[in-house]
């Protein structure tokens, strides 16, 4: 392998993030290798979106650092960051299409703004991108006329417009029915295979996670519990409880069981909060 391939596509180091006095990320580490699909799992509110937004330069860390392609985001100026942003694409949770533009205009936006291509060429590229997500016939429609799943596909086509090296996905299957979820997963896996892009996917839907992941990372209450190949997580999921608190917690999450260390902790938290509230009231 060449030297360039030794540089991780994404490197998160000891990332700490606070909102007010609420610490959301407690020193998170993560490396994503070029070409792999990394799935970050975790319950809602555990900090997945916050972590993702650091990786794409929308949030800046209180401590620690984020590197893309070997350059630290906090050391880049505005133009440097913009140059880097042309090398990755992001699919937001709801698609985040500009509602005032048509589907085709949404996909064409970055091409018009960042390249010198003429209108005809852009038109062809837009059609190719829409074809890749199976939506060529929707080009002239407005985002408001599309279903949730279609909007995400268009969002994906838009993210693909500049032929990115990394694709970031925030909850690609949230709010979709199981069949549409499977289709989107298929799309993600297919794009990774065909285009050789690196993918970072945040999700709490386990079927999706196991369908698309090469490696998986388990985030819990702002801490990284485990990063391992998919097979390791499958083994935990399909194995018996071990008595090890951490492994059992992961196992419960992967299986979606109602009983386990996770629920025990939740009851405990609730108890603490009740006491705190009583103390404040008194």
């Amino acid at each position: 392998m060449s030297a360039a391939n030794d540089i991780p596509a994404v490197r998160v180091w000891q990332l700490v993030k606070r909102f007010g006095d609420h610490t959301v990320l407690h020193g998170v580490d993560l490396e994503v290798r070029p070409g792999e699909t990394m799935v970050i799992m975790g319950g809602s509110g555990c900090g997945k979106t916050t972590l993702l937004k650091h990786m794409i330069g929308l949030l800046s860390p209180d401590a620690g650092s984020v590197e893309l392609f070997g350059s630290r985001l906090d050391e880049l100026d505005e133009d440097g960051l913009d140059a880097l942003r042309r090398r990755f694409g992001v699919l937001f949770q709801g698609g985040a299409l500009l509602t005032s533009l048509t589907v085709a205009e949404n996909v064409a936006l970055a091409l018009e703004e960042h390249t010198d291509l003429d209108a005809e060429t852009i038109d062809i590229i837009v059609r190719i991108k829409l074809e890749q997500v199976g939506l060529r016939e929707a080009a002239g429609r407005m985002p408001s006329e599309l279903s949730g799943g279609m909007r995400k596909r268009v969002g994906l086509a838009r993210a693909l417009a500049l032929d990115p090296e990394i694709l970031f996905y925030d909850e690609p299957s949230a709010g979709l029915d199981p069949v549409t979820t499977a289709e989107i997963d298929e799309l993600i896996a297919g794009l990774t295979r065909k285009l050789g892009v690196t993918s970072v996917v945040v999700t709490h839907v386990m079927e999706s996670a196991f369908r698309i992941a090469d490696r998986m990372a388990m985030l819990d209450a702002g801490r990284m519990l485990k990063i391992a190949p998919r097979a390791d997580f499958e083994a935990i999921r399909d194995g018996e409880p071990t008595g090890d608190e951490q492994a059992d917690l992961i196992r419960q999450f992967l299986r979606g069981d109602a009983e386990g260390p996770m629920s025990a902790r939740r009851t405990l938290d609730g108890y603490e909060q009740d006491i705190m509230r009583a103390a404040e009231g008194g």
Partner: protein, 272 residues
Amino acid sequence: MASTHRRNAVEFLGAKLLGGLRWAGGLSLLGRETLRWAGRGVVHRRARLRRGTLSAQMVRVGVRSLGVVFVVQSFIGAILALQMAAPLAQWGQESQIPRIVGAAGFRMLGPIITAVVLSGFAGASIAAELGTMVVAEEVEALEVMALNPVRFLVLPRVLATFIMMILLTVIADLILAFGGYAAAWAALGPDVYRGYWDRMRDQLAYMDFFTGLIQGGVFGLLIGLIACFEGLGVRGGAQGVGRATTLTVVYSIVAIGAAALVCTMIFYAFGL
């Protein structure tokens, strides 16, 4: 007890003042960014506004306000004429009515009332639009596509409110003058309405008109900036959007009042 109350009141006022300063600081930062992108757009082809965005924003900002400006300003013109008729009649100076309509209307009521109307229509709708975009992560989507939201969203909207405020002020002045004429014709007799237009032209200085336009432009900039600032600052879903629209109108009206005072002081100091 009384001293704690007083301290609480001082703390409250202090916190309000600090909040106000922070708000004004944020607003002027956005203003500076907008100016920077306007400058970059003049220099770099790459940073220009997309074709059609400015005109679309101007139509959206201006058209809805036009009807209300029409109605309200014709009332104001009539009110000015009628209100000044009695005191001026005491000194036999009814012929000065066109001058009063022009001075009070063109300098102050034309731009101010138009700005209030515009903040209610255009300001509120810009804040709601941008707030909804924030909630739907559209603004972040622009950022990660390396499309600066200030250049892409704020600049065309602020330019549109600026230009449309100036145009609407011209229209408001015309309608005001007609309102005054109509009132004079209907209620005040031939001494007033005969030669109304000639006297208006003779008695008014160009500055009565231009100071109004300058203020209109300032108000337009403020409305656009405040609406964008509040819209882009939305946190927490639909509730946040509703709050931003209300605050936009309230803050705009306060800012319009403050800016009118500052402008008037400057015009006064320079004898304009």
